[in-house]
């Protein structure tokens, strides 16, 4: 009996189709999907109809047309004769530049402040606390205005620029001008050497960890890695004949010519984003460390590790598991908050697209472009952080 019933499939009791949970599940899903589809179709067709009736142009053909406007701060070649597509690309790169730098700097600064708040030194921990409270309790927009006003009002004009370091660096309300090496083919090879250096440092790190695990001998990883990463490009530069032609900034007419410049709009935006976000990062780091059991730091102390070592080797790696998920939100916030650039005139993605909307009148297409751009950047950050989170997750054996 028992053997027989094991072999046969479980009997289904016969029910009416509208009471069958499988069929009902399918029906509901089909209904929901078709409702969503219908809504989407309605929105799209209605929009197209309204646009056509108002004789507003539609489609993405305008991207190929000449933009006609100038952009003040570009990372790639751009002129008013370039296309709208390129103008938008310039904006995307500018957004990425401020977002990437902002994420790196806010992480470093925030970690320092967060650890500082836990310091037994009364003064240091109080200063860090004030910092956090000051920056996170005032809207970012006001900080941006403040920093922008500080730069444009407090610094002199270009003709009275403050010169530093033997007339090579100039500070004015037009930004910081400093000399850069003239373009040279060797730079590409140096870049390659830099990447090789990073890869080498990675492998050295792995080898050193393994050696320490087997023999117990520590290895000066930090200095070796730095040496490799900086040393390799330097050697390439020496081998290439050490070309040292520099482009020096000099006052010509209204402005400095030559060298390169960090513009006030960029500086104000970056400083504002970093200081504001680092306050949140600091709290996340602090909460991550406080989430650890007190026994962890006591055990580290019992092993004879210094405070710095126990922080670096014992506490922070464990705290990371608590820190990383909320940190992802902060990184996304930096990226999205960078669109406040519009208030102080930094030419980011939103600025480029807004001008394009105004010249072409095609708001829907352009806003789709903005949304697609932010979405892909944000999803990339999320994907990376999720991957990292999985990597550092506690592996239970």
């Amino acid at each position: 009996m028992a053997v027989e019933s094991l072999g046969s499939a479980p009997r289904r009791t016969r029910v009416a189709p509208w009471n069958d949970p499988v069929i009902r599940g399918w029906v509901f899903q089909i209904v929901v999907v078709s409702l969503v589809g219908l809504l989407a179709w309605y929105l799209v067709s209605n929009t197209m109809e309204n646009l056509a009736r108002q004789k507003i142009a539609s489609g993405f053909h305008y991207l190929e047309r000449e933009a006609g406007f100038e952009i003040g701060d570009t990372m790639i070649e751009y002129s008013p004769a370039s296309t709208y597509a390129r103008a938008i690309w310039v904006g995307i790169l500018n957004t990425l530049r401020v977002a990437v730098l902002g994420i790196i700097l806010a992480t470093v600064l925030g970690t320092v402040i967060g650890v500082g708040r836990l310091s037994p030194n009364w003064l240091l921990s109080r200063i860090c606390e004030w910092y956090v409270e000051a920056f996170r309790n005032v809207p970012l927009l006001l900080w941006l205005f403040l920093f922008y006003k500080l730069i444009s009002e407090a610094f002199p004009g270009p003709r009275q620029a403050i010169s530093m370091l033997w007339n090579s660096v100039f500070l004015s309300n037009r930004g910081v001008y400093f000399p850069v090496p003239m373009a040279d083919p060797i730079h590409q090879w140096m870049g390659l050497a830099f990447l090789v250096g990073i890869a080498a440092a990675f492998f050295i790190n792995r080898w050193a960890k393994q050696r320490q695990a087997t023999t117990g001998q520590p290895f000066p990883i930090m200095s070796t890695a730095l040496g490799v990463i900086i040393g390799l490009p330097f050697m390439v530069w020496l081998l290439g004949g050490a070309p040292s032609h520099m482009s020096w900034p000099e006052l010509k007419g209204f402005n400095f010519v030559g060298g390169t410049v960090i513009q006030p709009e960029f500086t104000a935006l970056l400083v504002g984003l970093v200081l504001y976000t680092s306050a949140f990062v600091a709290e996340i780091v602090r909460s991550g460390i406080l989430a650890l059991h007190k026994g962890q730091s006591e055990a580290a102390a019992a092993l004879g590790l210094s405070r710095g070592q126990s922080m670096r080797l014992v506490l922070l790696p464990q705290a990371l598991r608590v820190i990383v998920p909320p940190m992802t939100s902060q990184y996304l916030n930096i990226t999205k908050n960078s669109s406040l650039a519009i208030a102080i005139g930094y030419p980011d993605l939103v600025a480029s697209v807004n001008v394009t909307i105004n010249q072409t009148g095609q708001a829907i297409e352009n806003i789709l472009i903005i949304m697609a751009a932010y979405l892909s950047v944000s999803l990339s950050i999320s994907a990376f952080m999720n991957w990292y989170n999985k990597r550092i997750a506690l592996r239970e054996r």
Partner: protein, 345 residues
């Protein structure tokens, strides 16, 4: 971004969701009448053209055109809700129906008249783009501006003309582009830019009203070059021709009244005039109001409450104002200017 994209987002929502588009014939006028108010988009503040005074009342030459439209439709020039819009918000706000018309110093161009889905109904101010510089810069001509840093508003014809002018003259410049006009002026007066460029009328207004002390109006000068044509016109959406007609003829009525010497002071006596043109204009001989779909006394109401074009010009930007702008191209055609209204008959 949040605040400034809201206008665009609301606008988009209206275009995307609106079951009946706002573009059927008569729709805009019906909506205005049902609301009892004209929603008029204006700039965020240019002395003499559109600026809220200390009591919060909007005044200026551009504002007077909104008032004339209101007077024509309602017989009362104060039935206007003013909606301040930046140069970037104004067109989306109009496309989406957030405002019925804009008087935001928009230049009449082919693209705007066609691909953006708008109609310009006339020219209330013939303007041109100029350059404002501090005198201590020592520049006498726009041709000397090679390498300058220039403050400019985004999404304007100004921004495009600027790029064109420098390309034509093989010069380079660095733009500083800020949306809010107050912020641009602040950046210019703090020395962030060497030059501020926009329409010469606005430059005159900025120079007269916005120089921060201890600097004075004499520390700044407008360069002689005018690098573009900037005919500024009232803008309405495509689709409601009757509303467009009213906006068009409200402005023409102000110009026509000046030509026939009808002013806010003498309009009551003019009602007794024997001149058949004046009788037609003021509705003593009926017909014009009916043709336009408004009250027969529409011109009377406009002139009585707002004044004719010349009165409005003098009061707001001309010799009766701090700006002291000469009539120049904006004089009537009979006096060597360009202001010319088709006959009201």
């Amino acid at each position: 971004m949040q605040a400034r994209l809201i206008a665009a987002a609301v606008g988009l929502a209206a275009v995307v969701l609106g079951a009946t588009g706002p573009a059927q014939a008569g729709k805009d006028l019906d909506a205005v009448k049902a609301r009892g108010m004209v929603n008029c988009g204006v700039g965020t503040g240019t002395a003499g053209y559109m600026i809220a005074d200390s009591q919060g009342k909007w005044r200026g030459l551009s504002v007077d055109v909104c008032r004339a439209v209101s007077a024509a439709i309602f017989g009362d020039s104060e039935k206007v809700r003013y909606i301040p819009l930046t140069s970037q918000q104004r067109f989306t706000a109009l496309q989406s129906g957030e405002v019925d018309m804009t008087m935001g110093n928009a230049t009449y161009t082919l693209t705007r008249d066609t691909a953006l889905g708008f109609d310009f109904t006339g020219v209330y101010y013939y303007d041109g783009q100029g350059f404002l510089v501090p005198k201590k810069l020592g520049v006498k001509s726009a041709k000397e501006l090679n390498g300058a840093t220039i403050c400019v508003a985004p999404g304007t014809t100004t921004e495009l003309n600027l790029a064109d002018y420098f390309r034509t003259n093989k010069m380079t410049f660095k733009p500083v582009v800020i949306e809010k006009v107050d912020e641009i002026r602040a950046a210019f007066f703090s020395g962030r830019c060497d030059v501020y460029t926009t329409d010469a009328s606005s430059l005159a207004a900025t120079r007269a009203a916005n120089v921060p002390p201890p600097q004075t109006i004499d520390d700044y000068m407008i360069l002689p070059e005018i690098i573009s044509k900037e005919p500024l016109g009232p803008v309405v959406r495509h689709g409601d021709n009757q509303f467009a007609d009213i906006v068009r003829w409200a402005l023409y009525a102000m110009i026509e009244a000046e030509e026939y010497g009808i002013t806010s002071k003498n309009v009551d006596e003019m009602l007794k005039s024997e001149n058949p043109s004046i009788k037609r204009i003021l509705g003593v001989t009926p017909g014009m109001g009916k043709a336009l779909g408004v009250d027969e006394k529409w011109v009377y109401n406009i002139v009585k409450q707002v004044g004719n074009y010349g009165e409005s010009f003098d009061r707001n930007v001309g010799m009766g104002s701090p700006l002291k702008i000469a009539r120049g191209q904006n004089a009537l055609w009979t006096q060597g200017g360009l202001q010319y209204a088709p006959p009201i008959r």
